[in-house]
């Protein structure tokens, strides 16, 4: 008797050992979730910044406050990783970088370029 394939398939993250492309891919998902969770915070800042002169100053001091720096570093990493990995996916969709060694190198580049860009941007902004 042939066993019917069980669909849908649910993935257990703790039983999977990922190659570098997989690490980049899962980081793209994690970054997406982080960015999604931060949306209400940015809407709050936008609302404050548009309310009045005093609230604009409060919004400005809020986004400049040092205790939020770790949070910004994580979000900056998330945004840049999601952006670079996303551009890589869009290029894969039109068959650019889809060959065997290339897709590994581009995944590595995304993983390594992101922290470098985060540091550069932090240097410029601080």
């Amino acid at each position: 008797m042939i066993k019917k394939s069980e669909r849908p398939v649910f993935l257990n993250l703790f039983q999977i050992r990922l190659p570098i492309v997989g690490i980049m891919s899962i980081a793209h998902r994690a970054a997406g979730i982080l960015l999604f969770i931060s949306i209400p915070f940015w809407l709050y800042v936008l609302e404050l910044s548009l309310s009045s002169v005093e609230d604009f100053d409060r919004a400005a001091s809020l986004i400049k406050s040092l205790w939020l720096l770790p949070f910004y570093i994580i979000l900056l990493w998330a945004l840049i990783h999601h952006l670079l990995a996303g551009i890589r996916y869009l290029l894969l969709d039109i068959d650019i970088g889809i060959e065997k060694p290339a897709f590994r190198y581009t995944a590595q580049s995304v993983l390594y370029a992101t922290p470098i860009l985060v540091l550069i941007l932090l240097g410029v902004m601080l």
Partner: protein, 116 residues
């Protein structure tokens, strides 16, 4: 509509919104690094010009649609318990709709108070 069509639609929406979000992110970096808004007047004036405001509203819509497709994929992949998946999807859906309404309200009220 077949499952394939709805899956393909989601896939396509994800890509189209991604392209817009990518360009807006790059423009955002460029604007905030080189034209950092320093006063309430210059900031509101910039935000509330029609092309920028429409661009932000479009950003909000594309961002939320993009987030919905992405989070939905993640929940479908990893949350095997049907009830839990349904609860999480509903929560995310409500958060997305609420965010969209809130963002729309923020811009609309700012625009109205500017004209008053």
């Amino acid at each position: 509509m077949s499952r394939y069509a709805s899956g393909f639609k989601a896939w396509l929406i994800q890509r189209i919104s991604a392209v817009y979000l990518a360009f807006v992110s790059l423009y955002g970096f460029y604007y905030f690094l080189f034209f950092t808004p320093l006063s309430y007047e210059s900031w509101t004036q910039w935000v509330l010009t029609t092309p920028i405001m429409l661009g932000i509203l479009l950003l909000l819509a594309f961002l939320l649609v993009h987030a919905w497709v992405g989070i939905r994929d993640i929940l479908i992949d990893y949350i095997s318990h049907t009830g839990m998946r349904l609860i999480l999807m509903s929560l995310v859906g409500m958060l997305i709709i609420a965010s969209g309404l809130w963002g729309f309200q923020i811009l609309l009220l700012a625009k109205l108070s500017q004209q008053a």
